[in-house]
Symmetry: C2
Subunit: 250 residues, 2 copies
DNA sequence: CGATCCATTGAAAGACTTCAATTAATGTGG
DNA sequence: CCACATTAATTGAAGTCTTTCAATGGATCG
């Protein structure tokens, strides 16, 4: 978890994420508070672990740029990906301060993080009720995402699960401004990751993805994903929309 | 969702749940605030729905007594139980105020609820930072429970899933003082519910439960559950402990 | 140009589901 | 307290979705 040393720090007022329509506006005062709460900014390479399972962290993070995922490893060696993390996601409220984390967080791409000291979280609650409420909302909303994953894994066919995942990740990436002119978004997710997220074996994941691809509803290559016929994918996946706009950013 | 009319209201200071070791203590002032926040108390019969999917609620609840579960229904007709609710669980923060709920909440037994007006949640954040923090913690902790369910459904065998569920529910029931002298706790969960929670078919659920039962690690009858050899069940289920003590109660 | 990671394929074995009934338990009204 | 209705638990058998094992092909990288 050694970071890549000091990097240029983004002032919160100039935070590139705040410009995105996905995020709710904050007052200048709130942004200044967030700035004072933020103690550092750092970059980790792809595959690095931000949080190790069974380890205390003592810090909170906002993913500024890059992709990551939250996961748990079983004693049998298997791994379950709990959810994917994209820019704007706030990490670390899931467990009590000074408690061993029940999950790990690993990077899919190089990632840039804002760091906040967990012991000061209390100041947020005392001084900034709006931000405190935002934090609760973030936690609650992430639960909804995990809910969605649980529904997929518990009740959907492999085909539907893959469809859901693609739609969901596409929309999330799009909502934080990752969509390029050709309509595609970056997609640094291997089939192994998808399998681990969806409770499928790698082999079956591969075959399922191929037959889904044959439907022509989407394209996946060179680490990018484009969804050409969202309606077709929606229909076959029984997709349920989560709100992706106006969420708070810390 | 029509309640059973006015019932005797439990004063928060005399709340029977607060005596349980599972819950963290609050100051008198906080308890008084909770009391002022609580507008009503009501009882619903078994099988009633507290929250309907796709419906706005505008209220928050604490389950005072009884069992319930949070679930989502798929267009295919299937149902996924997201988590079970036991006394002390706080319900309603999962979605934004005035937003259609993405999940339903249904009772397993008759249930007694405290009711809080969602529009006053803001007062909590302004006036009671400690309680506000507690609410965040509750949301975060519930995410951990859903995480655990996702791990089960995604990566464990049917046998392990059932073992996990039994241990988990037993411990939760025990932690809120439901354990009787003979070591058993109430268990108002049908095999259909278990199947819906674990992503299994009813038939397979039944057979799995039978072969597990044959191991003699637990007993299940007359709506009660007792775990005689927890170690055996733990080992076979790859059980991971979540903290069940000292959690906040609103 | 090996080394490594990721994607792909074939084939066989299993875990789990679905369909279709039957039995047991619980509850209700007379 | 019994007859009937309803819900929950069981069982058998057949089918299929998914996994596992075991290799092979492709791409990337220092």
């Amino acid at each position: 978890m050694s970071d890549s040393g000091p990097v240029a720090v983004t002032p919160c007022r100039a935070c590139p994420l705040r410009k995105k329509s996905a995020f709710a506006a904050n007052t200048e005062e709130e942004i200044d508070f967030i700035q004072s709460f933020k103690t550092d900014e750092f970059v980790l390479p792809a595959q690095a672990k931000l949080i190790r399972e069974g380890t205390k962290t003592g810090e909170l993070y906002t993913l500024l740029d890059g992709w990551a995922f939250r996961f748990r490893t079983l004693s049998s060696g298997g791994r379950q990906i709990l959810n994917f993390l994209l820019p704007g996601d706030f990490i670390g409220m899931q467990q009590k301060v000074n408690t061993d984390s029940s999950f790990g967080v690993e990077l899919l791409t190089e990632g840039r993080f804002c760091k906040f000291p967990a012991e000061r979280i209390w100041d947020v609650y005392k001084q900034q009720p709006t931000l405190a409420y935002d934090i609760t909302w973030i936690a609650a909303n992430e639960e909804l995402i995990v809910d969605e994953n649980l529904v997929s894994v518990g009740r959907r066919s492999a085909m539907q699960r893959v469809g859901m995942l693609l739609i969901h990740l596409f929309k999330r990436a799009e909502s934080v401004g990752m969509r390029a002119e050709d309509g595609s978004v970056p997609f640094p997710v291997t089939q192994q990751h998808m399998a681990d997220a969806l409770g499928l074996s790698l082999v079956h994941m591969n075959r399922t993805l191929q037959s889904l691809k044959a439907s022509g509803a989407f394209r996946m290559n060179a680490g990018r994903l484009a969804i050409d016929r969202p309606d077709a994918l929606n229909r076959m996946s029984d997709y349920f929309t989560l709100p992706l706009r106006g969420r708070p950013l810390i």
